[in-house]
């Protein structure tokens, strides 16, 4: 990692953090009115993975997608407007928090059904590889983010099998926060490490501390290089902590709150700040400026979104079918 990459990583992570915290407040005041799952605490994974992808690389996500969409390059005003259900939103207010799409930056879909987009990433990877065979030098990949809960869904095993069988250029990124919705992982499976599951298929896999954005960056870089080179699929398991409940409003009684001091040690954003300053990638003032700029950008996004009109009812009929 070099200084430029580190600054970019920090900027993305602060933009996600500021966005998520603002969305949480807007949810409580009902300006964001729908079902919301915040990714606070997972910024390092989204930023380190998407920060190494190109616009042409396809990304899919699940219900906790805000960070992935922002990290992939979606503009904050349109993203915020979508969460507010406005016509200026990424999806014209028709999709909302769980169904964010930003075609221009390769974010092709997110689903509210756990595991639902894992096979879609295979299909886009197949399409990319078929293009590669007809276009010199084409080496785009697909990436799908999913939680550890999705690993117990049948679609995961089915998709791993086909990805390996066809050696598809896809990276499966599991954000393992230890909880499948409201249930600790240990109550759903005796398997501790998701990365242990794919060995029989010959898939390259690694587990990394998801709170360490630099480690995620470096591990993903290694896996991505192999996938781009045509070595077949890879799986990255990032161990993370979900700071907020499963959804905004979740009483979160099924787990103990993390102690403030412990969180300050683990918080991926603060941790990158400490690491970056120690490495001389940026100094304290630069980190502060990045943080403040991110918060200001989010406030501008809220202002923009508030001024965006509501979608009009004729869309309900006109959008059911494509052309």
């Amino acid at each position: 990692m070099n200084a430029e990459q580190a600054r970019s990583l920090l900027r993305t992570m602060w933009r996600i953090r500021a966005f998520e915290e603002r969305v949480g407040r807007l949810k409580r005041s009902d300006e964001v009115h729908g079902l919301i799952h915040l990714s606070t605490g997972g910024e390092g994974v989204a930023a380190a993975v998407c920060g190494q992808l190109r616009d042409g690389d396809v990304v899919y996500s699940g219900h906790r997608a805000h960070g992935h969409v922002i990290a992939k390059g979606a503009p904050l005003p349109e993203t915020m407007a979508e969460l507010m259900g406005r016509a200026g939103g990424l999806c014209r207010g028709m999709g909302g928090s769980m169904h964010l799409v930003d075609v221009a930056h390769g974010m092709l879909g997110a689903t509210g059904v756990v595991g639902g987009t894992v096979p879609a990433a295979l299909g886009s990877a197949l399409a990319a590889r078929m293009r590669r065979e007809s276009t010199e030098g084409e080496d785009t990949v697909s990436v799908v983010f999913f939680g550890d809960g999705a690993v117990q869904a049948g679609t995961f095993a089915e998709s791993v099998n086909i990805a390996a069988l066809w050696r598809l250029p896809v990276v499966l990124v599991c954000e393992n926060n230890g909880f499948a919705e409201f249930t600790p992982r240990s109550a759903h499976t005796p398997v501790e490490r998701v990365s242990d599951l794919v060995a029989p298929w010959g898939i390259t896999a690694a587990t990394v501390d998801g709170n360490d954005a630099v480690a995620v960056w470096e591990e993903f870089a290694r896996l991505l290089a192999g996938v781009r080179a045509g070595d077949g699929p890879a799986l990255l398991e990032a161990l993370t902590h979900r700071l907020r409940g499963h959804y905004e409003g979740d009483p979160d009684r099924y787990r103990d709150a993390i102690a403030t001091e412990e969180w300050q040690q683990r918080d991926p954003v603060l941790r990158l700040e400490r690491t970056g300053i120690a490495h001389g990638w940026f100094d304290t003032d630069e980190a502060k400026a990045v943080r403040e700029a991110a918060h200001a950008e989010v406030e501008d996004a809220v202002t923009w979104a508030r001024e965006s009109p509501w979608p009009t009812p004729e869309l309900a009929a006109s959008l059911v079918y494509g052309s």
């Binding site: 990424l90 049948g154 059911v320 079918y321």
Partner: protein, 328 residues
């Protein structure tokens, strides 16, 4: 079909011809399925190569989900799902993912894919391989559903399905696969949402789909001998559903019999009955009669199959019921 040359083809061959022509026309059309590419001699593999014709494991969810992802990335996959009941294994991908992508993205993406599957067999295939289960798909937003009844329609609807920018469920009827009929050569497109009047008549409107179209036509011939002139309408696609053609016909005949191989409470018949009751009530001179399967599974024993399913005699009886003097 003036000016169009035709050949006699089976319904199955006509369907395959459409897939073949579309694959030749557009290199983005790809074919997936658990039983495709069975051998190197497979005509699709020979013509288009193993990259575009891919055998998939028995993993319906991944297979259909993968088709959705390929569609979002510019391909036009045709997935041979073999049997309609196998779609049920992958219900999230069939009714809750690709079909909603266009809408939920505010129109930013399209997912052009075709799910092809057979339905409606009646040869002792028992409870899980015989269903006419399209009723559970026809009301799903964003998913189109085609039910061809003739070889020509099978070809034309498949070609339109592949060119459509939406997920399409193309359901072929097992009992029609080997039926022959004239099929236009070359490009042949049947538009979606356009019913076909298979037989003109003035006394009673009969709407039927798939295999029951032919039962209705046979019943109409018997009734013609008694001076009852039956109009037979085949919607051809049930989503979108051409209610206008049906309402126009009912406006003329004043009598409506709906024939459907599906269980009554998950049938096209019931949906049409509701539309006509609301929008065509003043034209009706007799109650709408539905000739559907019973709300029961298809049993194994032959007499039980016959008991549960609609047939020619049941259609004739229903038409007589709505045309008896005093029914007006």
């Amino acid at each position: 079909m003036t000016g169009v040359t035709t050949r006699e083809l089976t319904y199955a061959a006509a369907t395959n011809e459409a897939v073949h022509l579309e694959m030749a026309r557009d290199e983005d059309v790809v074919l997936f399925g658990q039983s495709v590419a069975g051998s190197p001699d497979d005509p699709f593999v020979r013509a288009f190569g193993p990259d575009r014709v891919r055998v998939t494991p028995i993993s319906e969810t991944a297979e259909i989900g993968m088709a959705a992802g390929a569609a979002l990335a510019g391909k036009r996959p045709v997935v041979d799902c073999t049997m309609a009941e196998f779609l049920l294994v992958a219900m999230d991908q069939v009714v809750n993912e690709a079909n909603r992508f266009h809408y939920m993205s505010g129109g930013r993406v399209t997912a052009p894919l075709v799910l092809k599957a057979g339905y409606g067999f009646t040869a002792g295939w028992a409870g899980q391989h015989t269903g006419s289960i399209y009723g559970m798909f026809m009301g799903v937003p964003g998913l189109k559903v085609a039910l061809p009844s003739t070889p020509a329609d099978a070809k034309g609807l498949m070609a339109s399905a592949i060119r459509d920018d939406n997920p399409v469920l193309f359901l072929h009827h097992y009992l029609l696969l080997l039926e022959q009929g004239p099929v236009p050569d070359g490009e042949h497109l049947v538009p979606f949402g356009t019913a076909d009047v298979k037989r003109s008549g003035s006394d009673v409107t009969v709407v039927a789909t798939g295999w029951t179209v032919h039962r209705a036509l046979a019943a109409a011939e018997r009734l013609a001998a008694d001076g009852i002139d039956v109009e037979v309408i085949d919607p051809r696609t049930i989503a979108p559903l051409d209610t206008a053609t049906i309402l126009t016909s009912v406006g003329k005949t004043g009598r409506l019999v709906l024939v459907d191989q599906a269980t009554r409470h998950s049938s096209v018949a019931t949906v049409i009955a509701g539309e006509v009751a609301e929008h065509g009530f003043s034209a009706l001179r007799a109650p709408i009669v539905q000739v559907t399967a019973l709300d029961a599974s298809i049993a194994y024993a032959k007499p039980m199959e016959d008991y549960v399913l609609p047939d020619e005699d049941k259609i004739v009886a229903a038409v007589r019921r709505v045309t008896v003097r005093g029914a007006a």
